[in-house]
Every structure is written in C-alpha cells, then in structure tokens.
Amino acid sequence: MKTRVATFTVMLIFWVVLSGMFDAFHLSLGVVCCLLIAYFSHDLLFYGDNRYPLGRDLLGLAAYTPWLLYEIVVANLQVAYIVLHPRMLELIDPHVIRFKTRLQRPIARVTFGQSITMTPGTITVSIHDDEFSVYALTRSGSASLPGEMEVRIAKALEPS
C-alpha cells in the first residue's frame, strides 16, 4: 500500500509538471492514469521492503546528495588538472582495484557504485555480491576507496 501511495504521488507530480494544464479535465485525466500506474506497477519504482521505512531512505539520500555533489566538483577539478597538464601521461596510471564492501542492501550497493562512477577518476566496472571492481585513473584516486563514501552511504541507507 505504501509503495502504491508513493508511486502515485511521484507520478502525479510528474504529470502536473509535464502537462502544465490546471483545468479539471486534464487534472482528472492525470489522476486516473496515475491510479492505474500505481495499481499495476507499484513495485517497480520503490523497492517494496517493509523492514526499511521509505521516509528514512529519502531523508538519508537527501542528506547524502550535497556531500556527493561537493565530491563530484572536487574530483572534476582534479581530472581537469590532469587532462590540461602538459605531461599528462606521467600523471595517470590506469588500473583496476577490487575491494569488499560491508553494505548489505542492494539499493545501498547500487548507490555506492553509482557514486564511485560519478566521481571522476573512478568507474565501477562490476559488482558481484559484495566485491566491487573499480577502474581508476590515478593511484591517488583509488587510494581513498571505499573510505568515507561507504561510511556515509551506510549512515544514509543501512539499518543502524
């Protein structure tokens, strides 16, 4: 039920923003469509798992995103420095590192993998169970993994 309400809310906001019509006809059309979608595919958008409250996940992600944005900017400047450096080939040292994560939930692992890919200098190649393969551009880029990012994701999404 909870996932149905959440799906319906997200879909309705989406409808209103995209249609931009506020008369009764278009709004009721949207409500009917969103009800149908929420009824048929409520388990697609939100992972139905009653052990973890949805609100806490959203709050955790909202608290985590600003830090991620800051990290993206910092890492982008590092990559920009490498790319614009005249002797670029001496700065880079591409390699693959593997490490095990202590994150348990699939959503937390996906968030972690996406965050690693999003911060320049590192790309998540694969996630097999709890083993991450990360392709890094420099030694200093891979040295900080898993590190603070994993701790923050654990705080945001893992049960404490």
Binding site: I72, V83, I92, T117, P120, V125
Partner: protein
C-alpha cells in the same frame, strides 16, 4: 543585463569550461577506458551546470509558464544525474568483456 542573467551566466560558463575539458580529455588521453573518464565525468557535471544555468535564465520574466519550463529542465538534470553513470558503467563493462586492452603505463619512459 539583469541580476538573474548574470547569475545564470556563471553556471553556464562553468559548464562550458568542463565541456571543453572533457573534449580535450577525449582527444588527449591514451586509450578507450581513460577517455571514458573524461567523457562520462566532465560531461555529467557540465551538463548539470548548464541545465541549472538555463533553468535560472528561463525564469525571467517570472510567471507560471516559465516556472514549469524550468521545472522540466531540472527534471532533465535529475535524469542525467542517474543515467550518465549507468551508461558509463555499462560501456566499461562491455569493453572489458569484449577484451579491449587497457593502456598500461610504460615501466621506464626515459632511460
């Protein structure tokens, strides 16, 4: 030049800078994987900055229609935020599975 125009110019110009760096990176870096770093990363930040800048610029004159257009622009930004790393990850794994050889740093460049 209103204040909003100047405020929106800052992220747009920053985004242009990162797009430029990403392009230079694609041209300069030695192999497929390292080029993905430049392409996938600088581009995602650059695209975000430009979408935000354009959304700000679009708010003048301030009315409901422009607000809706800006909201749509921000939605595009949110989608890029999720989709871009997913695509980078998929391309990298596909290349590794197909056996594209990564560039290795030479042991000694200057004898």
């Amino acid at each position: 030049m209103t204040i909003l125009t100047i405020l929106s110019l800052i992220p747009i110009l920053l985004g242009l800078f990162f797009f430029l760096v990403g392009t230079i990176g694609i041209l300069r870096l030695p192999d497929f994987y390292t080029r993905l770093h430049a392409a996938g990363k600088c581009d995602s930040l650059a695209a975000e900055l430009m979408v935000c800048g354009i959304a700000l610029y679009n708010l003048q004159p301030f009315n409901l229609a422009n607000l809706l257009v800006s909201a749509k622009l921000l939605l595009i930004g949110a989608f890029i935020f999720v989709v871009s790393p997913t695509a980078t990850h998929a391309i990298t794994e596909a290349a590794l599975v197909l056996g594209v050889k990564p560039w290795k740093r030479p042991e000694k460049r200057y004898p």
